[in-house]
């Protein structure tokens, strides 16, 4: 067996793969947070609950309606995104002029409501969700075994992330969005419906979280609290990367996933805290974050 730094290569690459998977979710979630923060100036604490609802949508569609993973991949983001639009219209639009703090507290409250409701009906134990048939099995790459589903998750999230980046940074719609982030009043004066854009942006960010949830369902068990612990790590990722840059959020997400995976190999005790430790180091060296503009 081949060894690298005294670690069997199978174990090393296996953890790297797991790290990349986690990194995919960090990237998708922090991307959604960054997009929402850019337009709404709100840190969406409900993001974790919305990710969880995405996974549950996939689970319930299969259980009650018999619709498979591929349908869920399309339906869940639309459904949960629509729910996000509703949340924005009902609650968030009323607090736009208030201090940041209220947006954080309001979305935290919504997250508690959603998590509590799901715990009532589905308990706290994880519910299994099978890997779709087309992606079962895997292939031997010579140096490691690569399960097809995991390869798909990584590839698809990279595509989604860069499609989002492209849409925001390189298209006309994206340019309206960026302009409205800088100066909403002026953009409105040009006849663009900024409030509707804000609503749809929130729906889109939430949809990204739901999409991540569907992809996570076959890897982790589907459970009501799957989002709340993850969202805190994603907050740390966002602090490290800084929310000023879309590309920054993506790169930081993947990179931190890999670092976490490597930590699991070399120093397993620290694997649950390594991202927080990196956050501390970044705060000491570059307080504005790796990609952030200083405030």
């Amino acid at each position: 067996m081949v060894e690298i730094f005294g670690i069997p290569s199978q174990a090393l690459f296996g953890q790297l793969l797991l790290g990349l998977i986690n990194g995919s979710f960090y990237a998708l979630l922090s991307l959604g947070l960054a997009v929402i923060f850019g337009m709404l100036n709100i840190i969406n604490f409900t993001h974790g609950a919305q990710y969880m609802m995405g996974a549950f949508t996939a689970y319930l569609l299969l259980l009650h309606v018999g619709l498979n993973y591929w349908v869920a991949l399309v339906v869940a983001p639309i459904l949960i995104g629509a729910l996000g639009v509703l949340i924005e219209r009902l609650f968030l639009q009323h607090i736009r002029k208030l201090d940041h703090l209220y947006g954080l507290i309001l979305t935290f409250g919504l997250a508690l409501i959603i998590e509590g409701l799901f715990r009532n009906y589905y308990g706290s134990t994880g519910l299994p969700y099978g890997i779709p048939e087309a992606l079962q099995g895997g292939r031997n790459l010579g140096f490691m075994f690569l399960p097809n589903y995991r390869a798909w998750v990584i590839a698809f999230s990279v595509i989604v992330c860069f499609a989002t980046w492209f849409a925001i940074e390189r298209t006309r719609l994206g340019s309206y969005l960026r302009a409205a982030t800088e100066n909403p009043t002026l953009v409105r004066a040009f006849g663009i419906n900024v409030p509707r854009m804000v609503t749809l942006t929130y729906g889109f960010g939430v949809g990204l979280a739901a999409l991540a949830g569907v992809m996570a369902a076959p890897i982790y068990n589907v459970s009501p609290q799957m989002g709340s612990d993850l969202i805190i790590v994603v907050f740390a990722v966002v602090v490290i990367g800084g929310m000023g840059s879309i590309l920054g959020a993506i790169v930081t997400g993947f990179a931190l996933g890999i670092v976490e995976g490597l930590t699991k190999v070399f120093f397993p005790e620290a694997s649950s805290t390594v991202i927080f430790v990196i956050m501390v180091v970044v705060l000491l060296i570059r307080p504005a974050g790796l990609f952030g503009r200083s405030a």
Binding site: F37, I43, F91, H94, I95, L98, H100, L101, Y102, L104, I105, L106, F108, G109, L110, A111, L112, I113, I114, E115, G116, L117, R119, N120, S228, I232, V233, F235, A236, V238, V239, E269, S272, T273, F276, V277, M279, V280, L283, L284, P287, A288, A295
Partner: protein, 321 residues
């Protein structure tokens, strides 16, 4: 001679009066409470009231939103329980050990968190608290999932036996009221005025020559220390320190107590803490609905009830509470 606007002087005197009356009412209620309600419940309420007051010092007066205050409360609770049980320290030293731990953690976490402003500040405090939650989960001395159980209350100053609930009650009331008065004193000191100035407009405070970072750090450490005092007391009252004290839900609870009672009011956190604790106790049989109801209170408070209970009352009575 320095001239003070007579109107300001008058309003200050009026607010001192309203504070005095409200404080006497609170002290009287606390004197009667153990005969009406279950003393351990009142002690629990008092510990959380102090926790919420400490939190309010930061959010209500310095405008800093910490979403990780469970870190100081929980770790102080662990250290106080450990000192009382394993080192067999008397209760006064156990409480001091816990409080000192919280102060040290406050210096470290506060020093890191004030490097960023606004929304990032909240996220950093939350992430640091989560990191320390994982340490508590893994560390040997915290007892992992079991926590530190059967903590002896001991004899205060070698004389008062705290195992007796009545004696413990008097100890808790005295400490919490003293801390409460200290917080009132801090808020109304020149230091407190500078904090309020920073909350209203940090740029202007800087341009007036105040080293705002230093003020923010001191406020943060004070708040963490007092939260630690609350956690240490709580460990003795329940004779237990557990993971739930350091979990992020605890950080959420203290935000809820402060918001419900009234951000930036002196008595609000006390009222809020008793409301939330009573609700958690009475609704416990309904399981996860507590979470849903707490979430709903958050939403309602933010949308239509931002002054909180005491804030609304003070507004109706046209006084400052």
């Amino acid at each position: 001679m320095e001239r003070v606007d007579p109107q300001i002087l008058q309003s200050r005197r009026a607010s001192e009066w309203s504070f005095g009356i409200a404080f006497v009412v609170m002290a009287t209620l606390l004197a009667v409470a153990p005969f009406v309600a279950y003393p351990v419940f009142v002690m629990q309420g008092l510990c959380f009231a102090l926790f919420a007051c400490a939190f309010n010092l930061l959010i209500g007066y310095a405008g800093l939103v910490s979403f990780g205050h469970a870190l100081y409360f929980g770790w102080a609770s662990y250290m106080s329980a450990y000192a009382a049980k394993v080192w067999a320290l008397p209760p006064e030293l156990a409480v001091l050990t816990g409080t000192a731990t919280a102060a040290i953690l406050g210096v470290i976490a506060g020093g890191l968190a004030i490097r960023r402003q606004g929304i990032y500040f909240a996220m950093i405090t939350l992430a640091l608290a989560q990191m320390m939650y994982f340490f508590a989960l893994r560390a040997k001395f915290t007892g992992g999932e079991d926590g530190i159980q059967a903590v002896p209350r001991g004899r205060l100053f070698g004389y008062f036996d705290l195992a007796h609930d009545g004696t413990m009650y008097v100890f808790v009331v005295v400490v919490v009221l003293a801390a409460f008065l200290l917080i009132y004193r801090i808020i109304n000191s020149p230091f407190g005025e500078v904090l309020k100035a920073i909350r209203e407009n940090e740029q202007r405070a800087v341009s007036l020559g105040y080293k705002t970072e230093r003020y923010k750090l001191v406020a943060f450490v004070l708040s963490a220390t007092l939260a630690g005092l609350a956690g240490s007391l709580k460990a003795l009252v329940f004779q237990l320190a557990s993971l739930s004290d350091v979990h992020w839900t605890m950080s959420g609870d203290v935000v809820l107590m402060t918001l419900l009672g009234g951000l930036g009011t002196v008595f609000g956190p006390v009222v809020g803490a008793f409301c939330v604790i009573a609700m958690q106790n009475y609704l416990a049989p309904f399981g996860q609905w507590v979470l849903v109801i707490q979430g709903a209170i958050f939403v309602i408070c933010v949308l239509v009830f931002r002054r909180g209970i005491v804030g609304e009352a003070a507004n109706a009575l046209r006084v400052r509470l």
